[in-house]
């Protein structure tokens, strides 16, 4: 079987789709160089650079999609959505409703997210739960190369706007670009299974809103996405040594959220621990709680999330982002 790194998988799935569908075009800042392999295969009409004008080019992507293109618009980081959220909040997410269901926005917004490499709090946010709050947006957050490629294909076929987030710690190329920059002198806590892994010969779309159990467990289910999934897996191993059977559920998409899987996990284990690199309050972890509470499932609940602005210093950021120790402690706490 083929092996690929995370971003390679996305680009490969994208290339496969571009070869079939001429309506797919890709643009964003520095895209001609960042996606140079797409550029030399699909040419400058389909792979374009933009000025540093997110409001204009993300906004333009919305109507370009409405006019029949399938734009993949890239941002340097999800954090920079701040300058152009209007395009998603008030336009992309609302056109289908506004038009009475008659017009849709098949747009993919692709952006790196997440921390763990010392870039500071304006450049390491996750924001997936935040974006998922907006009705009409689909938010995809894969944790492995195989999911990344498959879900990217799904995003390209989806009729509505999709935000597709690539965690920088899983992305060899972003981590090299923004982190190491060719150095051998820095080390990042990269989850190997997330950064590189087996991928299918030909990409097939994976279903949205379908979580996957990465590890079964009877005592507690740890629910997460992206790097958190791998931290959860590490924690589950530690917990196993302490006689605690912890499963890991990888959500894969935050919106739609796999409420069926969440309810089943709560039902089966009676304990949920949400590990979320996005901010704790008013986000994904709360939504998980609401889903099981609404269903009337008695459950113990804890969460290990990012509670504050992410600090720059590596040792501080390691404490603030969900890590194995915090997850282990949270689960132990629930078990006692």
């Amino acid at each position: 079987m083929k092996k690929m790194s995370f971003t390679q998988a996305v680009d490969d799935a994208l290339a496969q789709a571009m070869a079939k569908d001429p309506q797919i075009i890709v643009f964003g800042e520095d895209i001609p160089l960042l996606r140079r392999e797409l550029l030399v295969r699909f040419g400058p009409q389909r792979v374009r650079g933009t000025p540093i004008s997110e409001s204009a080019f993300v906004g333009a992507a919305v109507t370009a999609a409405m006019a029949g293109l399938r734009p993949v618009v890239e941002l340097y980081m999800v954090d920079f959505l701040g300058v152009c959220l209007d395009a998603l909040l008030n336009h992309a997410a609302k056109v289908e409703a506004f038009s009475g269901g008659k017009w849709s926005v098949p747009l993919v917004v692709r952006a790196p997210c997440g921390g763990g490499y010392g870039d500071g709090g304006q450049h390491e946010q996750s924001l997936w739960g935040w974006l998922a709050h907006i009705p009409g947006l689909t938010v995809v957050v894969p944790a492995t190369p195989a999911d990344a490629g498959g879900l990217f294909l799904t995003a390209l076929q989806h009729e509505g706007p999709v935000v597709f987030l690539e965690h920088k710690l899983l992305s060899e190329s972003w981590l090299e670009f923004l982190g190491s920059g060719g150095r051998q002198t820095v080390q990042y806590n990269v989850p190997e299974a997330g950064a590189r892994g087996e991928v299918p010969q030909i990409w097939k779309p994976l279903p949205l809103g379908q979580a996957i159990e990465r590890r079964p467990g009877g005592d507690v289910m740890i629910v997460s996405a992206a790097v958190g999934v791998h931290r959860a897996l590490e924690a589950a191993e530690s917990l196993e040594q302490q006689g605690i059977s912890a499963g890991v559920l990888d959500l894969r998409s935050v919106s739609p959220l796999d409420t069926t899987a969440l309810r089943a996990a709560a039902q089966n284990t009676g304990r949920l621990c949400v590990v979320d690199e996005d901010y704790e309050g008013f986000g994904l972890s709360g939504e998980v709680a609401a889903v099981v509470l609404e269903a009337g499932i008695p459950v113990q609940f804890s969460r290990v999330c990012t509670q504050s602005t992410i600090p720059y210093a590596r040792h501080l950021e390691d404490q603030v982002l969900p890590n194995r120790e915090r997850i282990v402690a949270a689960v132990q706490n629930m078990m006692s």
Binding site: I25, F57, T63, A67, H91, A97, S99, G100, G101, K102
Partner: protein
Amino acid sequence: MPPDLWQLYSLMFKCRRFEEAVAKLWHDGLISGEMHLGTGEEAIVAGVVSLLQEGDALALDHRGTAALLVRGVDPVLLVRELLGYPEGLCGGRGGHMHLFSQPHLAVSSGIVGASGPAATGFGLAAQYQNPGAVAVAFFGEGAMNQGMLLESLNLAAVWQLPVIFVCKNDGWAITSTDGSMTAGDLNERARGLGVPVIEIDGRDVSDVWQAAQTALERARSGQGPTFLHARCVHFEAHFLGFQLLRMVRHPLREMPRVAVPLTHAILKKDGEPFRIRLAGLRKVLAAVWRTVRDPRRGLAHDPLWRTRRLLRADLSRLQAMENDLTREVDHIIASALVGVPS
């Protein structure tokens, strides 16, 4: 080729009657929230939109009703949408500021400046998959201070997109005058963002039509965007029920509502010295005054009146046309209201 003034006048006249009818619906309480009319800007709308063809796109702001009418959107669907009927253009879900018509590639937005990125995206799609087609953005001069619109001018220029940016400059953004909140010069701004400018008299439909023709030719032949800067006046000011205008129209009723609390405030014990308070008062009065005395609400600034003058030679044809259009609009409104269980 000169424009067909009869055709343009008929479009303008229809828009005017249509919006007047909408105003009545609003006053009758059949429309609940804000209602921004475009009465006064008909020459711009008709002059530009009448030149659009199948496949061309239209990105509108909060004042887009007339443009959709000229573009050929079913007027009954339009009225029903404004009324919030399930049978409306958007099932009653979009409404006055969010009118969408896929067959016409027409979008609206109540977010000031959003028509810039929207037209740019349509322009990109046209360039890529439908060369020769164009996209038009309508917006006010106030929107020219909104970053996303400025960014869009540059982006359209960089990509050489077929976009016509139409600035309907009525000199007001709600209660703010252009001069007070816009520094520099809009034409220089557009040029500094790489977009050539044509300045026109937005009350003169021929002038608009000629300029639009030029801009459209540039766009259709791959020469990139144009900024059309057209001055106009909005007879209903910002929106229906606009307080400043109510003060002009019903001074005895409305003035005290404003003046009494104002007097209280200026006399309140704590606060800045009287000299500074007076400077504040002067600002308020100036805004009221500018509205009261706006010379532009006069007939001479009405694009309809100005065009009508040119056609008066054949008064009977003119009146027959006007009567027909009035009946047509009455019929549209009646049809929209009738047969729909509320």
